[in-house]
């Protein structure tokens, strides 16, 4: 994996910039070149398929055709929604010649179905098995995290293929490599409110509150996700949840790429860790405090 196509989508240029920064930082130290798809357009995300089914396929179809024509074979789409739309479109047009013909007509472009799609969980899995092998330090030892997959990192049997859809564990290996302890909790695949962030904020507040509460109950000190939509709902809306009196949460929400970046010794600010609404810089402090306490306890036990 020397080079890989890169599809940032809108999130990574906006609310999900930390995901963009941390993935790029990881790619840099791993020596992987990210080749951004030229002239990419919106994947349709959560809006297009509610309006028009053809539009919801045609938008990502154009991206697929462009990427293929640019000689790319694999596309990394760190945003979970982009990944789902791109891969979902690939699955649909490769399965239905009629739909493919329709899309050819609409976009005027040909997609032959040669691309492979990689989400952030698989990308990081490949890095830690490959170029970053042996280069991660358990700097987060002592930190308890809830691995949060939401819908887009667990659902769609044709989109998320190598995962237990009900009890996914694709992040566990990377989190454990970073030293973190993954807690057993109930809401790993539950809905954060997703695309209703703007249109039905109340629903998002309720759902995200329940999620945060269960993570707290399970003893998590941070939530780790791979999806910018989950991230913004949990991180950005947390203060509003508290203001509405639903709870009094103070839960850092990190991207998987940030956690692995920390373990790889990357500078927190280079990954945008200081940009979070809920202070995320503290996770290293929590971990080192836990490590100190454990060392002291071990010392006492020895005496």
């Amino acid at each position: 994996m020397k080079t890989i196509g890169y599809f940032p989508g809108c999130s990574l240029h906006g609310s999900g910039r930390e995901l963009d920064m941390s993935v790029k930082a990881l790619a840099r130290i791993a020596g992987v070149e990210l080749k951004e798809v030229e002239d990419w357009n919106c994947c349709g995300a959560s809006a297009a398929h509610n309006l028009n089914h053809n539009l919801a396929v045609a938008l990502p179809y154009r991206d697929l055709a462009l990427a293929e024509a640019q000689g790319l074979t694999e596309i990394l789409a760190p945003c979970a929604a982009c990944f789902a739309r791109l891969k979902g479109t690939h699955v649909r047009v490769t399965r239905s010649p009629e739909l493919a013909a329709q899309m050819r007509e609409i976009t005027g472009l040909e997609y032959r179905g040669t691309l492979r799609f990689v989400n952030v969980i698989e990308f990081i899995g490949r890095l830690i098995e490959g170029p970053l092998k042996g280069k991660l330090a358990p700097r987060l030892a002592g930190l308890k995290v809830a691995a949060y997959y939401g819908c887009l990192m667990s659902r769609g049997e044709d989109v998320i293929e190598d995962e237990d859809h009900e009890n996914p564990d694709g992040m566990t290996a990377a989190l454990e490599a970073a030293g973190a302890k993954v807690v057993d909790w109930n809401f790993a695949t539950e809905c954060c409110g997703g695309g209703f962030s703007m249109s039905n904020t109340d629903a998002v507040l309720d759902l995200s509150h329940e999620l945060l509460a269960d993570a707290e109950q399970a003893g998590a000190q941070a939530i780790v996700t791979g999806c910018p939509m989950c991230h913004s709902n949990l991180d950005m809306r947390q203060l509003t949840i508290n203001q509405r009196g639903l709870g009094s949460h103070d839960m850092p929400v990190l991207y998987l790429s940030e956690v692995v970046g920390l373990a790889a010794g990357l500078e927190p600010k280079d990954m945008g860790l200081d940009r979070h609404f809920i202070d995320a810089m503290r996770v290293l402090d929590i971990a080192s405090a836990a490590q100190t306490a454990q060392a002291a306890a071990a010392e006492t036990a020895k005496k």
Binding site: D164, H165, E166, N167, N186, F187, E190, D214, Q217, A218
Partner: protein, 658 residues
């Protein structure tokens, strides 16, 4: 000169829809040797058979071809009709125009063309047929019943009461099967043990029944009327002839924490154990895997405790060969393992249980003495959620079928729970309520109206376990059109009914078919529900399909009556489709003897009048030959032919297609 009659059946619309039967008849009429051709809507019906009989007599037919369904379906019917008209039945052949043509094709013109070919092939064959006569084989009038659940018990008792000997083989230490584990039974709520245990005792004491508990079928040879079954009597490590079942041994056994199979893992048992107090035989066995003496060579507590000296740590499996004339398979079912349902906890939570576990909780002889107490902390649950169709009717889980009994036992569970915990809530998530059966619908209404079970139509999408131990059940009430959350203390899953593990191997041994779900296939879904494609092997109970007790018992009695019918004659008529050696050309190379899978070919010495051996040849034992044709293919001097499928017949079929 051959005088062949061709009779074409429309099979209602089954053949007629795709094949132009009139055109096939017209084509058949022109085939060489055909003197009579006619088509009819239902050739297998009485008027249809009359047409054949009449034509045989009036047209002096020397051969008949019936173009209709599979010969597996109606060849015996038509051959009987031919025989009644005085024609040797083996001069009648069938062309399969249904399974091999109309059911698998859509293009009418091409299907009709193929039908003509299929008929022509058989016309050519039948011209070379010769008269054959049924072979008579003696029948061993002893039946073997495999499986000692309620179906096997019923079949064994019925056969034994009919005056024939029965060998009942049961793989666990006691008969009784799943029914012995149930608390009460629908739709009458009578106690399962109270109606079952007297029958178990009857089996043990019946003079015509030999009970082989803790034994399994190892291999099978032979055929209907003459099966040679090898049964493995598993090592019990207890001499049952000395044992009185006093219980001193298991009281002293130091290994006490083995999850009891009988109590669905909720109770514990010792390493030397009997599965339950009412077991038949009421004698213990030693569980080899857990016994300290057998695994580590130290202990001997049970041997010390036994005053009769019945413990034998050196006991070994024993193979017993038994000759039987018929077999009833009654191997029953298992519950599917719901850990594949990740959304229901994937088997991680003690308080998400299956139907058998609930039965044991509700049973007076169960681990809680009949009090409903949840496994995790022993508390009495105040809210119980029942989820029907767990695995059943779920293609994603590979099970498209309905498990049939869950609607009823779930209603029963809800009722039993409400009878014991009056203030408790019983919430049932269902897809449909299928309560077809005598008194069944009334039973479900009673659960709802008299006992207040809350039926919610919808599926459960997720179960969480909250920190306080509550199980949060999230589902949909599709009648009210809204999501629904229930805080439950206990969840009972109605897991799909699946065939017993190992049942496929058993089916292969007996040559019985099974479907993609592993259930044994009956010979005909409507008209031969207890027979199998293997002659002399019958089915009873849930090994064939999910069944409740009344259905299992009915089928067992039906199977028993089939066995008794078979045993009502001292001899069996067999189709004379067997191999024959041409002793003039046989060079006695013995290749066929080595190749025959049935051991049906023997050496034979041809002697002259003075008793001198003039030639050695191979000879086929008519009783053993199954007509498979292996020897025909392997014979280097081309000296073996198969009656009914001679080279001449088969080549004439092939040649006419060119």
């Amino acid at each position: 000169m051959a005088r062949v009659g061709v009779f074409l059946c429309h099979c209602g619309e089954n053949i007629g829809r795709t094949v132009d039967c009139a055109a096939v008849t017209a084509a058949a009429a022109k085939m060489p040797g055909v003197v009579h051709a006619v088509d009819y809507k239902y050739m297998c019906s009485d008027p249809g058979q009359q047409m054949i009989k009449q034509a045989i007599v009036e047209k002096k037919l020397t051969g008949v071809v019936v173009g209709a369904c599979s010969p597996r379906m109606h060849e015996p019917t038509f051959r009987r009709a031919a025989a009644e008209a005085g024609l040797n039945p083996f001069l009648l052949e069938m062309s399969n125009l249904r399974e091999h043509c109309s059911w698998v094709h859509e293009d009418r013109a091409k299907a009709t063309e193929k039908a003509v070919d299929l008929v022509r092939v058989m016309v050519e064959k039948v011209k070379h047929n010769r008269k054959l006569h049924s072979i008579r084989v003696p029948i061993e009038p002893t039946a073997m019943v495999v499986g000692g659940g309620i179906a096997g018990i019923q079949a064994a008792l019925d056969i034994a009461n009919g005056g024939k000997k029965v060998i009942l083989v049961e793989k666990s230490p006691s008969i009784g099967g799943h029914m012995a584990r149930l608390s009460e039974t629908f739709p009458t709520l009578d106690c399962s043990q109270c109606i079952l245990t007297p029958r178990m005792v009857e089996v043990a004491s019946h003079p015509n029944i030999t009970l082989m508990a803790y034994s399994e079928v190892e291999s099978v040879e032979g055929f209907v009327g003459n099966f040679d079954v090898t049964v493995r009597k598993k090592a019990r490590y207890v001499d049952w002839s000395k044992c009185t079942g006093c219980g001193d041994c298991w009281a002293k056994c130091p290994v006490k924490k083995i999850p009891s199979e009988f109590d669905a893992g909720l109770g514990k048992r010792t390493a030397i154990y009997r599965p339950f107090p009412q077991a038949v035989p009421n004698k213990p066995v030693i569980d080899q895997e857990h016994c300290i003496m057998l695994t580590k060579g130290k202990c001997g507590a049970c041997a010390k405790a036994c005053q009769r000296g019945a413990i034998n740590y050196k006991d070994q499996d024993e193979l017993v060969k038994i000759k039987v004339g018929a077999v009833v398979l009654a191997t029953g079912f298992d519950l599917w393992d719901h850990s594949a349902y990740g959304e229901y906890g994937g088997g991680r939570w003690a308080d998400v249980i299956d139907g058998f576990q609930f039965e044991r909780l509700a049973s007076a002889s169960g681990p809680t003495d009949g009090e409903i107490r949840r496994p995790s902390d022993g508390r009495i649950p105040q809210t119980v959620v029942f989820i029907q169709c767990c695995g059943s009717r779920d293609d994603k889980m590979g099970k498209a079928y309905c498990s049939k009994i869950c609607c009823m036992y779930t209603a029963k569970h809800a009722m039993l729970y409400k009878h014991k915990v009056h203030e408790g809530r019983a919430v049932i998530f269902y897809m449909d309520i299928r309560a077809g059966g005598k008194g069944y619908e009334e039973f479900v209404r009673r659960a709802i109206e008299a006992d207040g079970a809350e039926y919610v139509r919808g599926r459960v999408s997720r179960i969480y376990r909250r920190a306080d131990g509550k199980l949060i059940v999230k589902g949909a009430d599709t009648l009210a059109g809204r999501p629904m959350t229930v805080e439950a203390d206990l969840v009972v899953l109605a897991d799909a009914i699946v065939p017993r593990t190992g049942s496929e191997r058993l089916a292969q041994m007996f040559g019985v078919g099974y479907d993609t779900d592993g259930f044994y296939s009956e010979a005909h879904p409507k008209l031969r529900p207890v027979e199998t494609s293997a002659a002399g092997v019958f089915l009873a109970g849930a090994c064939q399909a999910p069944k409740d007790i009344p259905d299992a018992v009915s089928q067992a009695s039906a199977a028993a009556s089939k066995v008794l019918g078979l045993f009502s004659k001292p001899e069996l008529e067999r189709e004379p489709i067997i191999a024959r050696v041409n002793e003039n050309t046989c060079v006695h190379c013995r290749a066929c003897i080595a190749a025959c899978p049935y051991g049906a070919i023997e050496d034979f010495e041809i002697k002259d009048r003075k008793g001198n051996v003039v030639k050695r040849v191979a000879r086929v034992n008519e009783g053993l030959c199954q007509g498979c044709g292996t020897c025909v293919a392997i014979c280097r001097s081309n000296s073996i032919d198969l009656d009914g499928f001679t080279d001449e017949q088969v080549f004439s079929e092939i040649v006419t297609l060119e």
